[in-house]
């Protein structure tokens, strides 16, 4: 290396090595792989239940934060997961993780809600159809699975992204930090919004008589949800 005046200054090289990540605070569950989920609950429902689609609508109140793992799949929309989805998740994640150093846990319940279907080709009427399958309702903002262990986000993200793509609702792989970052960005967006007119304000005060065209649920959903869809671009 040339110093001032063109004289070579001998200098020993100093290599700066990054510290390996610290996995001290991680507790492994008994079984590292995902548990098998039943198609039908142990006590199948006798009475057919109404559709109650409000279990898809709106933001989730359960399973919104990480418990055991560091990475997971976040649902960005509402939907129903049935046994086929559960098997896909279980097998894909089971194939991709190393059980000695990584683990995965479910954050959704086994299918509990009976869904009926009428046989093909018949006209309307004749009563409610028989139970076709059992599903689990997932609202937007809830975690589906959590993965943890001695691994980095970059290792985990590819197969989590593949799983997330196959789910019936939009989903993304997240880590603890990225989820925090998403929440912080949302908050910043909400605070830094230059528009003095927000959906919440107009709906709550019924400005312009908009409540004629809004649902009473829109007072809580605040224009960020439409049916089962989560409108991420809305503030």
């Amino acid at each position: 290396p040339a110093g001032p005046g063109g004289v070579a200054v001998p200098r020993a090289g100093l290599k700066k090595l990054a510290l390996p990540p610290d996995y001290s605070g991680i507790t492994f569950p008994e079984k590292p792989k995902l548990k098998f989920m039943d198609k039908v609950p142990a006590v199948p429902k006798v009475r057919r239940e109404p559709r109650r689609l409000r279990d898809i609508r709106g933001p989730s109140q359960v399973a919104t934060d990480f418990t055991q793992g560091q990475y997971g799949i976040l649902a960005l929309g509402g939907g129903y997961l049935h046994w086929g989805h559960f098997e896909m998740i279980r097998l894909t994640i089971g194939r991709s993780i190393d059980p000695k150093s990584m683990f995965a846990v479910w954050r959704v319940a086994a299918p509990y809600k009976s869904v009926t279907r009428k046989s093909l080709g018949h006209r309307m009427g004749g009563g409610k159809g028989p139970v076709d399958r059992y599903v689990t309702a997932v609202k937007s903002g809830s975690l589906v699975v959590e993965v943890g262990g001695r691994c980095e986000f970059g290792e985990v993200r590819p197969f989590l992204a593949r799983v997330a793509q196959k789910l019936p609702f939009p989903a993304v792989p997240v880590s603890r930090e990225s989820l925090q970052g998403m929440r912080r960005e949302e908050e910043e967006k909400r605070l830094g919004n230059q528009n003095p007119w927000t959906f919440e304000r107009l709906a709550a005060s019924n400005m312009l008589g908009v409540r004629k065209y809004l649902s009473p649920y829109d007072l809580e959903l605040k224009g960020r949800y439409w049916g089962k869809f989560f409108l991420r671009h809305r503030v």
């Binding site: 001032p4 908009v210 503030v235």
Partner: protein, 231 residues
């Protein structure tokens, strides 16, 4: 809209009663698989209440462009490159290249297309040594006219062909920096060697200096001589 359907009466004195009219809603429910069509008033409300990002006082296009590291972007894709102003018409690259090779001997010529911003239109030359700094760019003359000015703008100074040639013959940056540092360090090194000689020699030098000052300017008072004690 919802169509009212009259409800048949169950008995003369019913224990419980149903409302007289049941509103049978046809159409889809609130939560559907598909994207439910929104009332136009609701669409207008959503359009009105969209997110507006905060705008800085000075638009970023008026500020000097910065790369991801924070350095100022210097126009020009290749370090130490010059080019011609204006945009050569398509198909005439060979002629322009030849003329450029004549005007700038000893330079490698690249071909570049126009468009995609105005950073480097026209032909690009690369000098042998990296003697041209990153501040080199090509000023953009009207792209429509086939006007070729062999020159460049280096460090906010427009140079002609001769100027670029002279600039290319300058020593490299490191060499010139070294020379400057050496020139600056020379007096201090000389001073240090001078002070290490000895007090007698220093006294003699100072007397000589004072005598010269007295000879040079009578009215100008020489600096007050400090007594040099024998160490």
């Amino acid at each position: 809209g919802p169509v009212p359907v009259p409800v048949p009466v169950l008995s003369a004195a019913p224990a419980a009663w149903l409302p007289a009219l049941q509103l049978l809603r046809r159409g889809s429910k609130a939560v559907t698989r598909h994207w439910k069509a929104m009332h136009f008033q609701r669409q207008k409300l959503l359009a009105l209440t969209e997110y507006l990002p905060p705008r800085p006082a000075v638009p970023p296009r008026c500020l000097p462009r910065r790369t991801a590291e924070g350095h100022e972007v210097r126009h020009g894709p290749v370090r130490g490159s010059a080019g011609t102003g204006g945009c050569p018409p398509p198909g005439s690259d060979t002629g322009v290249g030849q003329s450029l090779g004549e005007t700038f001997p000893g330079c490698v010529i690249h071909g570049l297309g126009c468009g995609g911003g105005w950073e480097m239109p026209g032909q690009v030359l690369e000098t042998g040594e990296r003697s041209l700094p990153e501040g080199l760019w090509v000023f953009h003359v009207h792209p429509e006219l086939p006007f070729f000015f062999p020159g460049a703008c280096i460090d906010d100074t427009i140079l002609s062909r001769q100027g670029v040639e002279n600039f290319a013959r300058l020593p490299p940056l490191e060499v010139s920096q070294g020379q400057t540092v050496a020139a600056l360090a020379l007096p201090s090194s000389q001073t240090s060697s001078l002070l290490q000689r000895g007090p007698a020699r220093l006294t003699a030098l100072l007397d000589e200096h004072i005598r010269r000052l007295r000879e040079a300017g009578g009215p100008t008072e020489p600096p007050p001589g400090q007594s040099t004690g024998n160490c």
